[in-house]
């Protein structure tokens, strides 16, 4: 489990006492376990006011008037601000990027002006000395609405009789992408069987346990705004806040301490957050906004509301001849800012058929506006849709020709020695390991024994199913993701490391921590390269004033990009330290190594000088160094992948479950994952990323759905009615690895954050259909509710 093997011998990571590939506890756990973390929702500042947003009860309505006179007189009220007033402080935005050709959206304001476009859009801000008093006053604000017809069903959004949400755009089509390659018609004609299905996905959301939270603090004397926010991308927030408040980036500092869950929910910039920044500037004091749970459901981005028609051609020998999809998704009334709401559909087009050899692939994806909450990128963007469609079709094809689902995959997955190669949609794969992963999975789950057990239990009227899902995962995104489209979202990351005056190491990185282990992996890499115990490496992150410029933590980029920057920075510092040591010890740096915080002879390990002593000389007695030496005990390096736009990874999942054919309930018995994220820095952290991701995917598979009625009202915006996975229903998950490091970086790490979520729902759906095979029932919709199961069985 080492990094890319260098032909010239040991890499900086292959040293004795390396932390790479070792399970070590994360340095930041103690404060979180003792209740001594610092989440934004815990923050208080002098003169801090609290903002509550009055939100539209209508999905679509004209704002006729807002009456706030009585509310303004209520106790504790500091200000009540409507959209037009706030627009004098902050400019509107349009969520488009140039590389998503044809994507359109309408200007969105921090607070609605004249018209609201979804239930939950803010119409006024009530600022008071406490949240409770602001809520009291919000009840006294009178808003007159004139209800407008709401566009709710994406299937009819483009029909001529459907109202157009933004007249200036001409229609409700936000984005369309068409892909057609590899003589698809001929490929289908060559097939012995063609199978079709409609795949339907429930709109769901992230449900971070700590809701979105921000404290904005405009210091009028310094003309500087400090934003404390639970965000994954502090420099992005800095750029956007400055842009729309008419400031320069140097006037905005973004600080991000502990974050109570993110999963892509906190990688965007929301209108109410923009409003909070603007209110602080307007009122010249700190303003805090913490969403309550109802607001979270109504305003945190939703995701995965797709209907995708899929088609697969297969020969009797199992060879897949072609894939075709027609995907439709409804994103709400605006494309989200600044990452846009077209990426998910775009990824679906990119990933369908991705693990397989066939190059014949036709796709259409349409992204439409509707009067529901906005949709945007959530963990494993597009992956679960593409994986469920692809793997669902592969299983249906196998069923049609009477082939085992594992066998059809063996015959069609791209061979492990075929790399580098391309995908049906033109993605470039450096090195994947589908077959090795599948082989490992078979062994872990003891596939043949499970099949025998399944057959045996069927005789007793117990219906268990096995579902397999191979997947690809996009990680380590380069500028191809956002930068090329004009977004000021950095794809590079930077790390600065320095030796302090007592021989400890301080490391500042532009990646962020929301529990994935960014702090740990950075300390592991830096400690390993420098030869310093991890406990003496302190990692600083989440502060635009105090870290290098960079992208942050999203799209599984922290370890692969931020980790490589840490490695390269630490190598420079190591060289600088050894140069000083050589000067002090009157030798050459090649004679020395650093082990356990001590400079030693590389030949025999004899201790020569402790880093503590070296630092003392450098900082306090430089007069004793030989002439001409100017020690540099701080080093900074940045990194971005340049060769491949994305580092693709792969894996395969399996689900073993039981369907109660009387009640429709599904009991998950066991889940397996094999994935390949390249070099593994901390096996435990990787496994836990996978497990957490799987359970998020299982939630989507079985429970999670934002249920809207035909008027665009979200009917289950609370945690009692919107079901999330709890410990009682979740299975144990076994995780295995195949290791194919990327050779683009010295570290060789790819990402692992999306893998679990990417394939979990597909594995479960395939397992349910496997269990229901004796009944001839097939379900291609999630969440797989008891109602859906019983309907498929013809029992209700």
């Amino acid at each position: 489990m080492t990094g890319a093997q260098k032909p010239d011998g040991l890499s900086a990571l292959d040293r004795p006492n390396s932390y790479i590939g070792k399970t070590v506890p994360r340095p930041n756990l103690e404060r979180l376990m003792q209740g001594r973390g610092q989440y934004v929702s815990d923050m208080e500042l002098p003169r801090m006011a609290h903002v509550v947003f009055l939100r539209s009860p209508h999905a679509h309505a004209r704002i006729v008037g807002i009456g706030a006179d009585a509310a303004k007189q209520m106790p504790g009220v500091i200000a009540i601000v409507a959209g037009n007033e706030l627009a004098t402080v902050i400019t509107p935005w349009v969520g488009v990027l140039s590389h998503l050709k044809g994507l359109k959206s309408a200007p969105q304001h921090a607070i609605a002006i004249d018209r609201v476009c979804w239930q939950g859009e803010a119409v006024a801000a009530i600022v008071a000395t406490s949240r409770a008093l602001a809520e009291d006053a919000a009840e006294a604000v009178r808003v007159d609405y004139e209800a407008l017809e709401a566009v709710t069903d994406m299937r009819t959004a483009l029909e001529p009789q459907t109202p157009i949400i933004h007249q200036a755009l001409g229609d409700n089509l936000a984005f369309e992408r068409i892909h057609d390659a590899g003589a698809v018609d001929q490929a289908f004609a060559d097939a012995d069987e063609v199978v079709e299905a409609d795949f339907i996905f429930g709109r769901h959301t992230g449900v971070t346990l700590e809701p979105r939270a921000v404290v904005a603090d405009w210091n009028a004397a310094e003309e500087r705004l400090t934003i404390y926010q639970g965000t994954q991308a502090p420099h992005m927030v800095q750029n956007i806040a400055a842009l729309h408040l008419g400031l320069e980036e140097r006037q905005v500092r973004v600080v991000c301490k502990d974050v109570g869950g993110s999963f892509g929910i906190k990688v965007h910039i929301y209108a109410d957050e923009m409003a909070t920044y603007a209110l602080s500037k307007m009122l010249r004091r700190p303003v805090k906004f913490v969403a309550d749970r109802v607001e979270s459901f109504n305003t945190d981005i939703h995701a995965r509301d797709h209907r995708c028609k899929g088609r697969i051609g297969v020969k009797r020998d199992g060879a897949i001849t072609a894939f075709e999809i027609d995907d439709l998704t409804g994103i709400g009334p605006y494309s989200m800012y600044p990452r846009t709401s077209a990426i998910e559909a775009n990824q679906v087009v990119n990933f369908v058929g991705g693990p397989y050899v066939t190059k014949s692939y036709r796709a259409r994806a349409r992204v439409v506006f509707q009067n529901k909450n906005v949709m945007c990128q959530y963990r494993a963007v597009g992956h679960p849709i593409a994986c469920s469609v692809t793997e669902g079709l592969v299983d249906l094809a196998a069923m049609k020709i009477g082939m085992d689902p594992v066998e059809i995959r063996r015959r069609n997955l791209i061979a492990d020695d075929a790399y580098p190669c391309g995908s049906p949609s033109g993605l470039r794969f450096e090195k994947l390991s589908h077959h090795a992963s599948l082989a490992k999975l078979m062994q872990m789950m003891d596939y043949d024994r499970l099949r025998a057990e399944q057959a045996e239990l069927r005789k007793q009227n117990i219906h268990r199913g096995i579902g397999i899902a191979s997947f690809i995962e996009v990680t380590n995104p380069s500028a191809a993701f956002y930068g090329v489209g004009g977004a000021k979202i950095s794809s590079q990351d930077g790390v600065a490391v320095r030796l302090d005056a007592q021989g400890s190491v301080i490391c500042q990185t532009s990646i962020t921590e929301q529990g994935q282990g960014s702090e740990s992996l950075t300390a592991q890499i830096v400690g390993s390269v420098l030869g310093v115990p991890m406990g003496r490496v302190r990692v600083i992150l989440g502060d635009t004033d105090n870290t290098p410029y960079g992208g942050g933590t999203w799209a599984s980029r922290g370890a692969g990009i931020g980790g490589e920057a840490a490695l390269q920075a630490a190598k420079v510092l190591r060289k600088n330290i050894l140069d000083v040591a050589a000067a002090i010890l009157q030798s050459t740096s090649a004679e020395f190594d650093i082990v356990d915080g001590i400079v030693v002879n590389s030949s025999d390990g004899t201790p020569r000088i402790e880093l503590k002593e070296l630092a003392r000389i450098v900082y306090f007695r430089p007069d004793t160094l030989p002439p001409g030496i100017q020690p540099e005990l701080m080093a900074t390096r940045h990194y971005v992948p340049r060769e491949y736009p994305f580092a693709f990874t792969n894996g395969v999942q399996a689900s073993w479950l039981e369907v109660d054919t009387d009640t429709g309930f599904i009991k998950l018995l066991k889940h397996w994952v094999v994935e390949d994220c390249g070099t593994i820095i901390n096996p435990q952290l990787v496994d836990e990323q996978i497990r957490g991701g799987v359970v998020q995917g299982l939630g989507a598979a079985l429970f999670e759905k934002c249920i809207y009625d035909e008027r665009g009202q979200l009917t289950n915006a609370n945690m009692a009615d919107y079901l999330v996975p709890m410990s009682g229903e979740m299975p144990d998950i076994d995780v295995g690895h195949v290791v194919s490091p990327t050779t683009e970086s010295e570290l060789g790490a790819k990402g692992a954050g999306e893998a679990g979520t990417a394939g979990a729902a597909a594995a479960v759906a395939n397992a349910v259909n496997d269990a229901l095979q004796p009944f001839g029932a097939v379900i291609t919709e999630i969440p797989l509710t008891p109602q859906l199961v019983l309907t498929a069985l013809g029992k209700i």
Binding site: R26, L29, R293, N718
Partner: protein, 157 residues
């Protein structure tokens, strides 16, 4: 209203509005921010604290109802060392990621282990099924609690 109670062994006298819930009282008036607020309607378990020996959802209890009671929060349990072994097991097993659910999880797990040190995996899953965690997928938490149960059982005479 005037209330008087014990919080983590210290006497607290405070003036509270009748509508203030216990979670907000602990967080906003006593600045004990280890008690987290996730849903404010008693579902997620993030605000779990101990009142007179029983675990409760602090968002569903009014501060005035705690008058005369003894309340223990994660800060108290940490400082007394009562859950030190459980915390060590969470650390070793990486049974937390963002950490927002963790104080409530530790409260609920400690509650189970004090009632039933022979707790099985199923018991643990069941007892923690009112505490939502979005990050871990629960398995690491179950493992950590199970390891603590075994450890404590071994320590018993």
């Amino acid at each position: 209203m005037q209330i008087s109670l014990q919080v983590n062994g210290e006497r607290v006298d405070a003036q509270v509005l009748p509508r203030m819930n216990l979670a907000d009282f602990l967080r906003e008036q006593l600045h004990l921010t280890g008690t987290h607020v996730g849903c404010e309607h008693g579902v997620c378990g993030a605000c779990t604290v101990r009142v007179d020996g029983e675990i409760v959802r602090a968002c569903l209890m009014l501060a005035v109802q705690a008058h005369g009671a003894s309340v223990q929060t994660i800060e108290g349990l940490s400082d007394s060392g009562e859950v030190a072994d459980l915390q060590a097991a969470f650390r070793d097993r990486n049974a937390l990621q963002c950490g927002y659910c963790t104080p409530g999880m530790l409260m609920a797990a400690q509650d189970l282990l004090t009632q039933k040190v022979e707790a099985s995996r199923e018991d643990i899953r069941e007892h923690l099924s009112g505490n939502y965690c979005r990050c871990t997928g629960y398995q690491a938490i179950i493992d950590a609690v199970e390891a603590t149960a075994r450890h404590r059982k071994g320590l018993r005479p």
